[in-house]
């Protein structure tokens, strides 16, 4: 095989000697690095640097005295902010709330996405393209617009659902204390099922046709093909979507923030990011940084932990 180096000499064939091997790997390294540089630059300046800055800020505190007329002093607080955050009941309950939401909403959404993807992939499915587009459309709607739409659909005085249920004799307020978290979960599921369905569907398309044929020839009906062959085959896609969903739920902000306008049951610090935003609003950036770092750590532990768990389980099978 001949390889041409645009900037240098060309090789007639790869040589097994030490010098040739090293030159080859150097060229590979250079190409790899050239491709990764743009991403690396942006990633470092836009992600790593700000993350590092936030971590740095979380160890400091701004000390003012009296009325605050004197210039403030930046004091090293060590883990003081973290202790405050752990003792902050509003923040801790926002973390718990988001965790409880995730535990229910993520499996429900992914179960639905998997079911829809399998249905689309089945041989008897009709109007595949139409349905694919329909399921994907909620995701195409900008998050805030969707949240505003849902706030009209939930607000008791204008909601068609509330009106319909009232005809059946049921008095349901989707924004009441008991139901509002479920209503938010519904909004997220509506918006993201299509996206996750598409990822799983793509993975299903990648399953070699011979496997399906073999399963059918062995006498499997559609359900058994799905359960025993297709679902295990899309395991990596399921793991990917679960990790994304865990991270997305932890970062919940849009939906409760918009619903807050019509739902008095949503407090200003309903989710961890709303709580951090609250701290930033009163210029307590160090505390906001602390809350963000805690959220990031917990999200990392959960998502990475799930990934490791899923991989280990996969290895043991």
């Amino acid at each position: 095989m001949t390889m041409t180096n645009p900037g240098g000499s060309s090789f007639a064939r790869p040589r097994a000697s030490e010098g040739g091997g090293r030159a080859l790997s150097r060229r590979h390294d250079r190409s790899a690095v050239m491709f990764l540089m743009p991403f690396g630059l942006l990633f470092t300046t836009m992600m790593l640097l700000p993350m590092g800055y936030a971590l740095y800020q979380s160890f400091f505190k701004v000390q003012r005295s009296g009325l605050g007329l004197q210039p403030a002093a930046k004091v090293f607080a060590g883990l003081g902010n973290y202790v405050t955050a752990v003792r902050d009941s509003a923040f801790m309950s926002s973390l718990l709330r988001v965790f409880m939401l995730g535990v229910v909403q993520v499996p429900v959404m992914l179960g639905l996405a998997l079911a829809l993807a399998l249905l689309l992939d089945s041989r008897s499915a009709a109007f595949k393209r139409t349905f694919r587009l329909t399921y994907f459309m909620p995701y195409a709607l900008p998050g805030v617009i969707a949240a505003i739409m849902w706030s009209f659909l939930y607000e008791p005085s204008v909601s068609p659902f509330t009106a319909g249920l009232r005809h059946l004799g049921l008095n349901v307020n989707f924004l009441s204390g008991n139901l509002v978290l479920g209503s938010i979960g519904n909004m997220i599921t509506w918006g993201w099922t299509g996206f996750n369905m598409l990822i799983i569907y793509s993975a299903l398309q990648a399953i070699p046709g011979e496997l399906t044929e073999a399963a059918v020839m062995d006498g499997c009906g559609a359900w058994r093909v799905a359960w025993h062959m297709k679902i295990p085959a899309v395991r990596p896609a399921l793991i990917l979507t679960t990790v994304f969903s865990i991270i997305g739920t932890a970062q919940l902000f849009n939906e409760p923030q918009v619903l807050q306008q019509v739902a008095p049951t949503i407090s200003p610090s309903y989710t961890p990011i709303m709580a951090a935003q609250q701290a930033a609003d009163i210029n307590d950036y160090n505390y906001a940084a602390t809350e963000s770092v805690i959220l990031a750590l917990l999200t990392f532990v959960l998502s990475f932990g799930f990934l490791k768990f899923a991989q280990r389980k996969g290895d043991s099978e």
């Binding site: 300046t45 009296g66 009325l67 008095p264 200003p268 609250q278």
Partner: protein, 433 residues
């Protein structure tokens, strides 16, 4: 194994990181030295630019560069604070009275007492109080938001009531209206911290004080309780409705005769006129109902000052312009016409633009009511340094009360505790916890 290229890449990335960090900490460019001084001014109110243009026409030694930014609560304040932190802030900024203490505590406002104190007598006393505390002045007041009762004169006649002079009369009228028509309400309950604040202000209370080099937080005070209990009473007996005002839903309800009146500031007049053009001639304005018969006390809502921001190298010139903006008759007439303000300067309150009959309000000179109101506002009110937090929590608590999931007094107690915590977390000395 790390090859030379990988090492080069890592070095480049680190260099980029360092470059970004150092670029971010460079200081802003100084204003042009020499004969003409150029100052930057950031504001959000429409119409300010015309006053600035007038200044630039008539002044050659000081030039003002006006830039329109987003409204304070929509990001304008954050933009100003970030610019101060970055060292490239404008000299002047439009800051609401309620947010001025926030700017002072974060070190974003400059003490201009020595240049501004000479102008004090040109302004209504309580508006001057809004521009500083601790004996220092940080800005020049521009406008005022005295409150009064906007009411549907035609519907009042229909229900057989006249503008109530006291709050007990008001409650009686509310009962009369609701008894005659269960779908109608005399007015709406306080919806946020500024509604409740103005009502408490009128009743002679105060939420924030600055004495003994310490902040006193008295949101949960007997006066606030008096006001909170009164409105909770109306809410509990379904004599007042809880909904946000001056928006689409409210306009619809007023059109349908569901809400008869509104306690709000002078700047609500053009908003009502714009939102309900079909009701022209049917509205009127009366002074706010009183707690003590015969008094004329009222509260204020809104209003902003022109603040000199930290880092301004020409505070004297900046103060000179700010004073001109608020007192020069050309400038104030423009602000009245195009920005829709009610001036804080006493000379401004005598201008013809705010002393003429209003066709929308049935030919009444509504500004007469507001002028009297502006003169009867207590100068002992002050705002705190965490009003964003106070507002978001009070809104939440009052909304809960509106749907029956809490009460207004409960909201007041909760906000008191949370505000003390928020202020203490900034390291300020606070009493009232």
């Amino acid at each position: 194994m790390a090859s030379r290229w990988v090492k080069t890449a890592l070095v480049t990335l680190t260099a980029a990181a360092v470059a970004t960090v150092t670029a971010c900490s460079s200081s802003g460019a100084p204003n042009s030295a020499g004969k003409t001084v150029t100052l930057d001014f950031w504001g959000s109110a429409i119409g300010y630019d015309k006053s600035v243009a007038r200044w630039n026409q008539t002044h050659s030694d000081i030039k003002i560069n006006y830039a329109q930014i987003a409204a304070g609560s929509a990001g304008g304040y954050a933009k100003m604070q970030n610019a101060v932190k970055a060292g490239n802030a404008p000299c002047l900024g439009q800051v609401g009275y309620d947010t001025l203490p926030d700017f002072v505590v974060t070190g974003a406002a400059q003490d201009i007492s020595q240049y501004a104190n000479a102008d004090k007598s040109q302004f209504t006393p309580w508006t001057w109080q809004m521009t500083g505390f601790g004996g220092k002045v940080f800005g020049i007041p521009v406008d005022a938001g005295p409150e009064a009762l906007f009411y549907r004169a035609d519907l009042f006649e229909q229900y057989g009531i006249t503008p109530p002079k006291t709050w007990s009369e008001f409650a009686a009228d509310a009962e009369k209206v609701h008894a005659a028509n269960p779908a109608a309400y005399l007015t709406t309950t306080p919806q946020d911290a500024y509604d409740l604040g103005a009502l408490t202000w009128q009743a002679g209370g105060k939420w924030f004080g600055t004495g003994d080099n310490q902040w006193q937080v008295t949101i949960d005070s007997p006066t606030t309780r008096q006001v909170a209990d009164y409105w909770q009473g109306l809410l509990g007996k379904h004599l007042a409705t809880s909904e946000s005002t001056l928006d689409t839903a409210w306009f619809k309800d007023v059109q349908n005769g569901k809400v008869l009146s509104l306690v709000s500031a002078v700047w609500a007049a053009p908003l009502i006129a714009q939102g309900l053009p079909g009701l022209s001639g049917k509205w009127a304005v009366a002074p706010m109902p009183q707690w003590t018969p015969g008094q004329a006390a009222t509260g204020s809502r809104g209003g902003s000052a022109t603040v000199v921001l930290t880092g301004c190298k020409y505070p004297q010139q900046a103060t000179e312009f700010a004073d001109w903006l608020s007192t020069n008759s050309d400038s104030v007439t423009n602000l009245i016409k195009n920005t829709g303000i009610y001036p804080a300067a006493t000379s401004g309150q005598d201008l013809p633009a705010v002393n003429q009959p209003s066709a929308y309000f049935g030919g009444q000179n509504i500004y007469q009511v507001f002028k009297t109101a502006a003169a009867n506002i207590s100068p002992s009110w002050g705002w705190g340094p965490t009003m964003v937090q106070v507002q978001s929590e009070m809104k939440h608590g009052l909304k809960l009360a509106g749907t029956g999931q809490g009460t207004i007094p409960q909201a007041v107690t909760a906000v008191q505790a949370d505000t003390v915590t928020a202020m203490k977390s900034q390291g300020l000395s606070v009493s009232g916890g």
